[in-house]
């Protein structure tokens, strides 16, 4: 195991975050705060409470998830796309570093950043609304697993994309809509029956539901199902990453 390489990649990637601190951390925190102000404080008062939780508090887990999802994808995809684009990937390819070590370095850094971001958003949210966390262990578990899974997805995207447009279009056309329609702003039970069925095809629903359960003990789908879905998504992403390195797809001639 080339631990020095993992550490080098990890530190390098986190340093990149540090350099772009405002864009990568402050930006999402500010925009999430705006959601709380608009939906939680301003409009939220007019909504009835959802499942016994005030609408403002109900929003918290979903908004955290939404930021974590989109930031994981964009951050991890950028991290691996950049060296491909600039050509510096030659160094990684010529180094005594295995696929597994590469993934731990890049995905680990992206996921770390997402967890930090999620935590900061939670802390910020506390300034606007009152909420409690019923199952802290599971809260952290869902946060970490989601960060890792979507960082893996971002890593795959960063290897697949062969232009800046593709790199941005996937988050814009797929991840953001799925996140918005994933039950961050509403409970699935509020939807008409047909859409309740359709929405179950959206993997984000399971994440948001499980994450919200860890806060308030209530969920749209059974929490075990949420866990199975996260594990499944992670397994699929890992399999794709493994295949990429085995075949050298888009990495080696």
């Amino acid at each position: 195991m080339n631990l020095h390489a993992i550490k080098a990649i990890y530190i390098f990637e986190l340093a990149r975050t540090w350099r772009t601190l405002f864009q990568s951390i402050a930006g999402p925190v500010i925009s999430t705060s705006l959601y709380f102000i608009v939906f939680g404080a301003a409009i939220g008062g007019r909504f009835a409470s959802v499942e016994g939780v005030s609408y403002g508090a109900f929003l918290v887990p979903g908004l955290v998830m939404m930021s974590v999802l989109t930031e994981s994808v964009s951050n991890a995809s950028f991290g691996i796309y950049m060296p491909r684009y600039s050509g510096t990937i030659y160094e990684l390819l010529s180094a005594p570093v295995s696929a597994f070590e590469t993934v731990i370095g890049y995905v680990g850094a992206a996921a770390t950043k997402s967890v930090i971001l999620g935590t900061l958003i939670l802390l910020t949210a506390r300034l606007f609304v009152d909420f409690s966390i019923a199952h802290p262990f599971w809260m952290v578990a869902f946060l970490v697993m989601t960060s890792v899974t979507f960082s893996l997805l971002g890593f795959i995207l960063g290897i697949w994309a062969d232009g800046w447009e593709k790199l941005q279009i996937v988050p814009m056309l797929i991840v953001t809509p799925l996140a918005f329609l994933g039950g961050s702003f509403y409970s699935i039970s509020m939807l008409p029956p047909f859409w309740q069925k359709v929405t179950l095809f959206n993997p984000v629903v399971y994440l948001v539901s499980g994450f919200r359960w860890s806060f308030y003990g209530a969920a749209d789908v059974p929490v075990a199902l949420s866990l199975v879905m996260v594990a499944l998504m992670m397994a699929i992403c890992l399999a794709v990453v493994w295949w990429i390195f085995r075949t050298g797809y888009k990495l080696k001639n």
């Binding site: 080339n2 020095h4 390489a5 550490k7 080098a8 990649i9 530190i11 390098f12 340093a15 990149r16 350099r19 600039s86 050509g87 510096t88 030659y90 160094e91 990684l92 390819l93 010529s94 180094a95 005594p96 570093v97 295995s98 050298g248 080696k252 001639n253």
Partner: protein
């Protein structure tokens, strides 16, 4: 002693169907400077990229200090440093950070003293906190060299190290490469400048069209390649070369108006002065004289012909 790099039957066909390497066998001796000389498109970069693990070979095998690059890739790659042909550098990192990153990537624990020595050797020390993108092209090239040396490799590949580098810097680069060799590092560099190979290398391999045409020690090769020609335009045509000049490597053109003398640029003396004096003594006068050297293209053509 076992060669540090052993290449056998190496072939590469790119996805486009183009065959860039057509069966390369090559041994590189420990501790030497080996110049891979060949025109653009000959397959130099492809060959280097396969040894370094960036491109997959279609067939054949490579070992680095006895380690097969496929089966024993970790050990093989740990021994190698690569300076690529293109100036591909991180932009926003400082020189210090990017060189330290490379050391970690190659599995070595951090060692500020080593990085400091490398940066000082390459005259980059005062730039250590500068962002790479703020450096000139020549300095970026040196940053790439520093990155390649950061993990103290035993073998250093330099792909066209002096392309686009001005004459003065080129000399500095050559000196630095010489010092590296003295410290025991085996150096393989590619170039399409024959002077560069001539200046620096211990051995020279000529590659053309994906095949190694020949590998020789520099001295032997220069004897072959280093011939220059002195052409004298005669005032009065000759029927034949006078017998007094039998010992000289002279040829007479068909019309008898040009006398061509071939001489060795590597030799102590060219013998030109003596020849001209003797011609004068024998009353052979000339109206004009010019020297020419065989161009790289001519050399390649003659080498390929020789082999055929």
């Amino acid at each position: 002693m076992q060669p540090i790099i052993q290449i056998r039957g190496l072939e590469k066909t790119y996805a486009s169907g183009f065959q860039a390497l057509k069966g390369v066998d090559l041994d590189i001796r420990r501790g030497e400077i080996f110049a891979l000389l060949g025109p653009n498109g000959a397959g130099k970069t492809t060959l280097i990229s396969i040894v370094c693990g960036i491109v997959r070979a279609t067939a054949g095998s490579v070992t680095v200090d006895g380690h097969d690059i496929m089966r024993d890739w970790r050990a093989a790659r740990s021994l190698i440093g690569l300076v690529p042909q293109e100036l591909t550098t991180e932009s926003f990192e400082s020189v210090w950070a990017t060189v330290s990153f490379s050391r970690g990537l190659f599995g070595k624990p951090p060692d500020p003293a080593v990085i400091e020595r490398i940066l000082k050797d390459l005259s980059l020390w005062d730039k250590k906190d500068t962002k790479v993108m703020a450096l000139s092209g020549g300095m970026k090239r040196r940053v790439l060299i520093a990155k390649a040396l950061s993990h103290e490799p035993r073998v250093l590949f330099l792909d066209e190290p002096t392309a686009g580098v001005d004459v003065e810097l080129r000399r500095g680069m050559w000196e630095m490469i010489g010092r590296l060799r003295d410290s025991g590092v085996t150096i393989i560099l590619t170039t399409h400048y024959i002077e560069e190979a001539e200046e620096m290398a211990d051995s020279i391999g000529v590659i053309s069209g994906g095949r190694i045409i020949l590998v020789e020690e520099k001295a032997a090769l220069m004897e072959k390649l280093g011939k220059r020609l002195l052409t004298l335009q005669l005032l009065n045509p000759l029927d034949a070369i006078p017998p007094e000049f039998a010992g000289y490597p002279l040829t007479l053109s068909a019309d008898g108006r040009e006398l061509v003398y071939s001489f060795d640029t590597q030799g102590e003396r060219t013998g030109i002065a003596g020849l001209l004096r003797k011609l004068g003594d024998h009353g052979i006068n000339y109206t004009n004289l010019r020297t020419e050297e065989s161009s790289l293209e001519e050399i390649f053509v003659s080498l390929v012909k020789e082999r055929a």
